[in-house]
Each structure stands twice: as structure tokens, then as C-alpha cells.
């Protein structure tokens, strides 16, 4: 069979059900092979960036590898933002790009671009295939690399003559990669040491990141927290890994974190970092982050340990494996003094917003949370609305927040919501986006309609690039340069032109009355939420300040 046919067979063997892509000359043989299979659904997007974000959203919800295809040249370069996005958030993707025939590589031929060169710093690994016989083993390795260890995107560049070549197909059963052997089980001695340190601590805090989700360790996290009576704070990427209404939950920490989470970090004597990477939006000022704490850092990526902060006990391993071994070594303790202190902080510094005039975005998120019982899949774009979701939607189930954390990619939302909706999770999917962000990838409304996905889109319309506007307010004395839109399309009319239902919410009463109806609509809906432009995301830690110095 041809290599293209072999690739499709490989995908079937990997259990791939959906691929997101956009065709073109160089990748055509693969599309031709897809034509002959009914086991894999191809979702035609409207821009390649949409394909990679959709595959990413799909991967975040399912935990499976997202698959994406594009042609050579511009098709491949259109993937770049999405690949970087997946790389920063450690999302498993396998991307196939078409390439000019091997003999033409390096000659600047039509639609030739060195995509393996371009994506070198933003992929976990990539391949330019020149030997047709190696394709099955490369695809196998790509899926293995993408989904194991610390996950990430892997790109396979396929010259057209390679995909047309004939090979004897045999899918390898095992991968041989002598340079790639992630450590899953933590060192038993270290695990005992961790247990001992936890036993001695008076004021532990668990700081849990996206690693909990990628290792499917949400249950183990709850067990650990409950056993040792330690409050849990999530990084933005870690949200939804711990139940939002659990008494031990502190919410998100960091730049826009809750004040009680940030102060718990300041006061703790033990910081247990699980699958988190001490990002600058969390740590803020180095010396002021957990200044009195012993730091235990458990992560599958050894390079994250000791990268930013000094770690007292480094433990390399998969969080789930490690917690499974650790929890049985611990005995239930009651830390009433510490938990009382936490309760005091929660009461003293609650997460609040002014109930002034107009439609408050925070209120919309709270209502969405209440109406969906915190059990919807919420996809966001990037900006203020994203932070309001992080603060006010109390997630209950792992993998129910889909958002661009590390790269902060505006335009991620809509295509990622398409992917999330294709995941067949059985859950309602809601997109919370901004009037800026949605206009970056708005064309994917076409994909949404074509796939008949009942997505509910909430455009938090403040006629501005709110988050940047907020920065200008605090750091540039309110000189709002290039952050106010003087033109907008009529969003409801736009939605209607796609055949979607549309609503506009202007007041709190509108929200109260219409949200239940909107959420129970059977089809897709766009909701234009007219919110006050001057609303800020609070609390906030100003630049140069420590995590304990947030302002409300």
C-alpha cells in the first residue's frame, strides 16, 4: 500500500476517531487515503490555526492525542501559533504536514517551508520523513512521545513523493527510543522522605498544577489533601483538578489569584508542588514566594525541578504514581489550627466584585456555574473574561476547563471549543470569549455549524481589549492606546448569518431571565453580553510586588 494509506492505518491502530485539518496539494495523498476509510472523521476547519486549536481542545477534554493535518508552506506555517500553544501547555498532539518532494527540498520550490526547522523550539520532537519504510515506526513513536512523560506536540513532515511511495505495511508493536525513557515511579526512598516531612509540618499547602490533569491524578489529589488536611490551591492550568466547592479548596493563586490562596502560600511551612512549574505569573517576586516553606516538588519533568525555586525535596515521577505510593504512608491528621487560620483568611479576604450598575461579567460566570452545577466544559479565550472564569466558575470535574495558559493565545477559544465539542463527553460545552479574541478566529463559526455542535458562546463584549486596557490603567496612567474598538460587527446578526440563534444581554435582569433558556437551547447560540469596559480583574498583584501584596 502507499505510505498515505499506511498513515491512515496507523491512525486507526492508534484509535484515532477524529482528525482536524485543511487540505492542499502536498498533503493530498493522505486526504485521498482518508477518503477510503469510514473509521476516521475528518473535520474541515476554516483556517489551519483552527485545526490545531481544535485538536488541542479535543485532547484536553479526552486526554487522548489530538490529530491535525495541513498542507506544506502556508498550511504548515498557519499551524505555528497553535503548536506553540500546545507545547507551552504540554498538550499531546500529532501533526502531519505535507512537504514538497524530497528532490525539491532546499530549492525554494512552490509552497516549500522548513517546518521542522521552524517548529524545532515548539515541539517535543519532530520528523522530516525521507525514507518511506520508516513511516509506520515514526508514526508509532510520534504518538508515544506525544502522550507519555510530559506530553507535547510532535510534528511529522511528509514529502509528497514519500506519501505516494509503496511500502509493506507493518505497524510496530513497540517503540525503540534509547534517548527517551520518562521516569514514572518516584524513588521509594524519596517518597518516604516526603511522607516524613509532611508528618512534621504544621501548615502545609498543596500547590497543584496541570500535571494533575495530564496524569489523571485528581482522585489521588483529593485523597492526599483530605488525609493530611492540607488546603489546595490550583495554578490556572491546574483548575478543575480539585473540586471547586471542597472545603479545602483555596481557588487559584498568583497574579489574579484569591488573596487567601496567596496568603496561605506566604504563611505555609510546607509547600507541596504537584505537577506545577513555578511560573512567573504564580511566583511573582521570587523571595516573597513561600518564604517560610520547605519545598517538595513532584513532577515528571526533571528539568522543571529547581529551575525557578530552590527545592528541598525533588521527586521525579508521574504525579499519579507518586501519590498512589505516598498516600498509604500517611496517617490521617487533624490540623484544626491551620485550617481555622485558612478559614479566617477566607472570611477576611473573600473574592468579591462591586455590585454596581450594569451587567457584571463575574455575575454571568457565577450564574453559568450555578445553572450548570459547575459541571459544564468551559472553554475560554484570553483576557479578563478568562480570569473571571478562573475565579468564579467552580469546576467539579477534571478536564472541564479548556484554556490557553502558557502562551495566552487570543483566538484559541472558538476552535478549541469546536474540538471540545467533538469529544463526546456528554457534557454541555460553553465558550466564554471576548470581543477581541473571538475576532481572531471567528471564521470557525462555519466549522461549528457544519459539525452541528450545540455550543453556547458568550462574548463578553466590553468594546475593548480589556486585559490590556487594564494594564494601561495601572501602568500607563490610563493612556488607552489601541485598546478601544471603534467598530464592531453586529455580533448577533453575524451569528444569525451563520444560522445560529443569538441573544443580547444588557442588564443583570436579562441574565437572570435569559440564561436558563439559553443554556437549554438545543442548538448553538451566540450571546452578546454588553459589559462595562471599566471592570477590572481583581485582586491583582502589581508588578514587582510579592504574592502577599495583592490589591483588591
Amino acid at each position: 500500500m502507499t505510505v498515505a494509506e499506511a498513515i491512515v492505518r496507523c491512525l486507526e491502530k492508534e484509535g484515532v476517531k477524529v482528525v482536524f485539518g485543511y487540505p492542499g496539494g502536498a498533503i493530498l495523498p493522505v486526504y485521498d487515503a482518508l477518503y477510503h476509510t469510514s473509521n476516521i472523521k475528518h473535520v474541515l476547519v476554516r483556517h489551519e490555526q483552527g485545526a490545531v486549536h481544535a485538536a488541542d481542545g479535543y485532547a484536553r477534554v479526552t486526554g487522548k492525542v489530538g490529530v491535525c493535518m495541513a498542507t506544506s508552506g502556508p498550511g504548515a506555517t498557519n499551524l505555528v501559533t497553535g503548536i506553540a500553544n500546545a507545547y507551552m501547555d504540554s498538550i499531546p498532539l500529532v501533526l502531519f504536514t505535507g512537504q514538497v518532494p524530497v528532490s525539491q527540498i532546499g530549492t525554494d520550490s512552490f509552497q516549500e517551508v522548513d517546518i521542522t526547522g521552524i517548529t524545532l523550539p515548539i515541539t517535543k520532537h519532530n520528523y522530516l520523513v525521507k525514507d518511506p519504510d520508516k513511516v509506520p515506526s515514526i508514526v508509532k513513536s510520534a504518538f508515544h512521545i506525544a502522550s507519555t512523560g510530559r506530553p507535547g506536540p510532535v510534528l511529522i513532515d511528509l514529502p509528497k513523493d514519500v506519501t505516494l511511495a509503496k511500502i509493506d505495511f507493518k505497524y510496530p508493536t513497540a517503540v525503540k527510543l534509547r534517548g527517551y525513557k520518562p521516569t514514572y515511579r518516584g524513588h521509594p526512598y524519596k517518597i518516604r522522605e516526603v511522607a516524613e516531612i509532611i508528618r512534621k509540618s504544621q501548615r502545609p499547602v498543596i500547590y497543584a498544577g496541570g500535571g494533575i490533569l495530564s496524569s489523571n491524578a485528581a482522585d489521588e489529589l483529593v485523597q492526599l489533601a483530605e488525609t493530611i488536611s492540607a488546603p489546595v490551591t490550583n495554578t490556572f492550568m491546574g483548575l478543575a483538578s480539585f473540586p471547586g466547592d471542597h472545603p479545602l479548596f483555596l481557588g487559584m493563586l498568583g497574579l489574579h489569584g484569591t488573596r487567601y490562596a496567596n496568603l496561605a502560600i506566604t504563611e505555609c511551612d510546607l509547600l507541596i508542588a504537584l505537577g506545577a512549574r513555578f511560573d512567573d505569573r504564580v511566583v511573582l517576586k521570587l523571595g516573597a514566594f513561600a518564604p517560610n516553606a520547605t519545598v517538595i516538588h513532584i513532577d515528571i519533568d526533571p528539568a522543571e525541578i529547581g529551575k525557578i525555586v530552590k527545592t528541598h525535596v525533588p521527586l521525579v515521577g508521574d504525579v499519579k504514581h507518586v501519590l498512589k505510593a505516598l498516600v498509604p504512608l500517611l496517617e490521617k491528621v487533624d490540623r484544626s489550627e491551620w485550617l481555622e487560620r485558612i478559614q479566617q483568611l477566607k472570611e477576611q479576604y473573600p473574592l468579591t466584585y462591586g455590585e454596581g450598575a450594569g451587567l457584571k461579567p463575574q455575575f454571568i460566570i457565577e450564574e453559568l456555574c450555578r445553572l450548570t452545577k459547575g459541571r459544564a466544559i468551559v472553554v475560554t479565550d484570553v483576557g479578563q473574561h478568562q480570569m473571571w472564569v478562573a475565579q468564579y466558575y467552580r469546576f467539579h470535574e477534571p478536564r472541564s476547563l479548556v484554556s490557553s495558559g502558557g502562551l495566552g493565545t487570543m483566538g484559541f477559544g472558538l476552535p478549541a471549543a469546536v474540538g471540545a465539542s467533538m469529544a463526546e463527553s456528554g457534557k454541555q460545552v460553553i465558550l466564554v470569549t471576548g470581543d477581541g479574541s473571538i475576532q481572531m478566529t471567528m471564521q470557525e463559526l462555519g466549522t461549528l455549524m457544519e459539525q452541528e455542535l450545540p455550543l453556547k458562546i458568550f462574548v463578553m463584549n466590553n468594546f475593548s481589549l480589556g486585559m490590556v486596557r487594564q494594564l494601561q490603567k495601572f501602568y500607563h496612567e490610563g493612556r488607552y492606546m489601541a485598546t478601544t474598538f471603534r467598530f464592531h460587527p453586529d455580533f448577533p446578526l453575524l451569528a444569525q448569518s451563520y444560522g445560529m440563534k443569538a441573544y443580547t444581554l444588557e442588564t443583570r435582569e436579562d441574565a437572570v431571565h435569559l440564561l436558563p433558556e439559553i443554556l437549554s437551547e438545543p442548538g448553538p447560540v451566540m450571546v452578546n453580553c454588553l459589559i462595562p469596559p471599566e471592570e477590572d480583574v481583581m485582586p491583582m498583584v502589581l508588578a514587582g510586588k510579592g504574592i502577599d501584596e495583592a490589591i483588591d
Binding site: 524545532l120 523550539p121 517535543k124 512521545i145 534517548g179 528539568a303 529547581g306
Partner: protein, 174 residues
Amino acid sequence: MKHTLSVLVENKPGVLVRVAGLFSRRGFNIDSLTVGRTENPDVSRMTIVVDGDDRFIEQVTKQLHKLIDVIKISDISAEEYVDRDLVLIKVAAEPSQRVEIMQMAGVFRARVVDLGRKTITLECTGHEGKINAFEESLRPYGIKELVRTGKVAMLRGSKLSGDAELTGRRKDGE
């Protein structure tokens, strides 16, 4: 402190770019980097000299480990090792100076590899310090051109920096 990393990598196209790219985007400075094949044709060895404190070297090593094509890394600086650098130096040499220069070369056990009408080209191998001294001693005559290979290194005695890996043992400390 200077560290010498002996790095075994897959002998595949693009591996050097992956390693060099990693150094530049993480802001790691390379003192020298050499690469060549080993006793196993599928495997190349890079000898990378970097300057930095222990924490920095730890990051360099860990980030290198993340490259799929990197098989094994040993920081051999902590152990007994031999290292060699090779230099070719073309110095200005009037016929009357030749003997003097050749005597000097003799002291460093350098060899004459070419003679021009007004130049002499010498080859010298040895430890970095020796090469530096050799270079300094020729400077007064006028160095026309100089090229150094950068350091290659190997552990002393019967210790190996990475054979077992080639037969498939794991590279991380588990």
C-alpha cells in the same frame, strides 16, 4: 567553573541543530562544541564545554536530556579525564626565522604541516592550556590564521562514558 559534557546523540540529520538551538534559546553559552562519530556508526559524541555554576549546569543537562535524540550525558569534569584540542596555526616566517620557529614547535611537540614562501603552518594537539601557551609563543612572529577544533574528551582508565546506553540501559537516574 568550566564543565565538560560528554554527550552521546543519535547520528541523525538535524541533531546538531537541536542541541545548538537549545543552547541559544535557553540563553546557555557554549565555550566549545565538537561532534564526531563513535565506535558505533549510529551514535555520535559531542563534547560540549560550558561555563557556569552547578545549578546552571544542572539545567543545561536536564534540558539536553529532554531532546529525544540525546542518548546520554556525562559531566566528566568531576572525574579524571583526558582531553585534547587540535590547532592549526599559520605564522609569518621569513626564511631566516624558520629554524627558530621550528625549534619552538619542537618544544610543544608541534609538527610542521606546510611551508610557504613567507609562512609556516604548524599543527599542535594537547590540553587546552598547552595550546594556549603555544599560541602565545607564536604571537610575536605574527599569526596569519588560526583554527582550533575545540575540545574532545574521554574518561581515564577503563571507565566508559556511556557504552551501556548503546545497548539500551536507561539514561535517567531511576
